[in-house]
Symmetry: C2
Subunit: 354 residues, 2 copies
């Protein structure tokens, strides 16, 4: 049994407490400075307003102002903040970190840094640490299918813990695994994290099919725009393969948990696919965003980063110019406000098609 | 404009007539000896009873007894028979075949031949031809997302034509492509066809998740058993990769149209996923099959072939023993009547996980 602190009481951070508690640990869920209402609700009746299932026994909620108490004798830290909160988390957690304290994050995203290169968030986190800690702490991260509401309900899944230190990963895997939360490990941090970040954008692209079908008067069912969606799904796999390679990761992540697995689950009804549906219905991104006011749109954020970096990724030789037509079109839709006009004719270019 | 004969008036053969007619060809749809009722309906009102959309202008239906007339000056043959009809098709078509007459099939399946090896159907077709034709005719095949009802309704898709003769593939691609039917080519006949055959079995496996969720009292929605389904999807990709390699194909087909793309589309509501749902609900295969009386269950047929061949594939060294736990479990369910007990703990074995 370990003392585990989960930082961030959003859906995913809170959901992660369930397997941790079921694995027998003492779990302390610490809200960020933005999570006050959720922590108050959890303290009142142990039910997270957005998850709708009770916190298991063995999990204690802490307000952000109580973080010091929560960190007493901590043995594992899990970070469940949003991608916008990664730098904040590094600053807040730095006083508690040390070489032998494993840290794992569920936060997904990419940044362009330096220009023409994509940086995964565990590395952004490390960059923000004080120099004395930077080489000491090797943040791990979680990829693979992880709908928070299902993890909190103990629906079986398989995930991959990635990081650069194999011993830490093996310890974390043993620590977090339960009979329904199956943990695999990979030292290919970049490959897993690039897939994990891209899946929101590409799930949005797949979601466009449902909107197009509806716009044309179709009803949901086995005959819809599933061929259209599947062609986009396959092109997404191809572009994830190219982007993983361009970032120095292993493309075998793509037909695996962090790639195709997480992409599939992300197409099954979350924010990313809802945004795609609105775009497929014919709304501009601006109008779609207005309809989804209050939702964080990671899918659009990642398109802005990756699509925005494409000219420099192409120019650097990391990617063949024009080799990512789907991401280029997503960038046109999100950043330039253009309507959907799926470039099937440019998909599956010869260089990459076997 | 070419004279194209499509043999087999099932859903897929009939649907394929739509892009062919739209590409400007004279299309002759010839029913098999089992398709009499469908051809009669098509001759009466040009509407296929199972497709529900009218045959485009430029398509003429022919009864099986009229095949000789249909073959007059034929320039391309497309074969849309069921997998059980492949040998029959070879015998029936042999009199009309010649080296410079391109032939392409939509039929999917695998046979164990010789023992311990899997053979794709275009090769089974070739084996059945008279010796004088065997080396002359290089059958091509179609992989990728192809729901027949959507092709007949001109829903955009991307497919891959595979075969061993690149010039024939390029000719067929130019002949069949339309603004909504995007054709790519691959000389990796084995890789594409192994994926195309396996997708039914693995889509059945993914479909089990919906049944399990329902059995536990869950309603459909964004929180269901999607993590469970996605973990199976990823394991299916891994096993397709291993099986494609074992058969001598290129594993890059897996995160592509014939693999992940066609697997995705097959999970969206056809017979294979319906069978999976019944198994997930707790029915034995026998009871599930009884509920689906009248349906051809390619998913179960392929499990019997591949699952049945596993001991010999393992023994031959083509696959590491135990490396296909999902297929092994499907074989237990289908051939031995065992209940579903998804072996997540054996998924993503170390040897193949990056």
């Amino acid at each position: 049994m370990a003392k585990v602190v989960v930082v961030g009481a959003g859906m995913m951070g809170t959901a992660l407490c369930t397997p941790l508690a079921d694995a027998g640990h003492e779990v302390r869920l610490v809200g960020t400075h933005l999570d006050g209402a959720w922590i108050a609700a959890l303290k009142a009746d142990r039910c997270h307003p957005k998850l709708g299932v009770p916190l298991p026994d063995g999990v204690t909620p802490f307000g952000f102002e109580e973080i010091r108490a929560a960190m007493t004798d901590v043995e594992v830290i899990a970070v469940g903040v949003s991608s916008a909160g990664v730098r904040w988390a590094a600053h807040v957690l730095a006083p508690f970190l040390r070489r032998d304290l494993p840290l794992i994050a569920v936060t997904k995203g990419l940044e362009e840094s330096p220009p023409g290169a994509l940086r995964v968030l565990p590395d952004v986190f490390s960059d923000e640490l004080p120099a004395t800690l930077r080489g000491e702490v090797a943040p791990a991260a979680i990829g693979g299918p992880c709908i928070a509401g299902e993890i909190a309900r103990r629906v079986p899944t398989s995930v991959v813990f990635c990081g650069r230190d194999r011993a830490t990963l093996d310890y974390l895997a043993v620590t977090c695994a339960t009979p329904y939360y199956h943990v695999h490990v990979s030292t290919d941090l970049v490959g897993v994290e690039v897939c994990a970040a891209l899946k929101n954008s590409y799930a949005m692209a797949v979601g466009i099919g449902a909107g197009v079908h509806e716009r044309l008067g179709g009803a949901p069912g086995p005959v819809a725009h599933h061929n259209y969606e599947a062609a986009i799904f396959a092109q997404a796999c191809l572009e994830m393969d190219l982007l993983v390679r361009a970032c120095g990761g292993d493309p075998r992540q793509v037909p695996h948990l962090a790639g195709a697995g997480d992409l599939l689950v992300t197409t099954s009804g979350g924010r990313s696919s809802r945004l795609g549906r609105l775009l497929g219905l014919g709304l501009s991104f601006e109008d779609a965003r207005a309809q989804m006011a209050g939702d964080t749109l990671e899918s659009a954020d990642t398109v802005r980063v990756v699509g925005g970096a494409l000219p420099r990724l192409y120019a650097s030789g990391r990617l063949a110019p024009g080799s990512l037509p789907l991401m280029e079109h997503l960038q046109e839709i999100i950043a330039l406000g253009r309507p959907v006009d799926m470039p099937f004719g440019r998909f599956f270019g010869e260089p990459a098609a076997p």
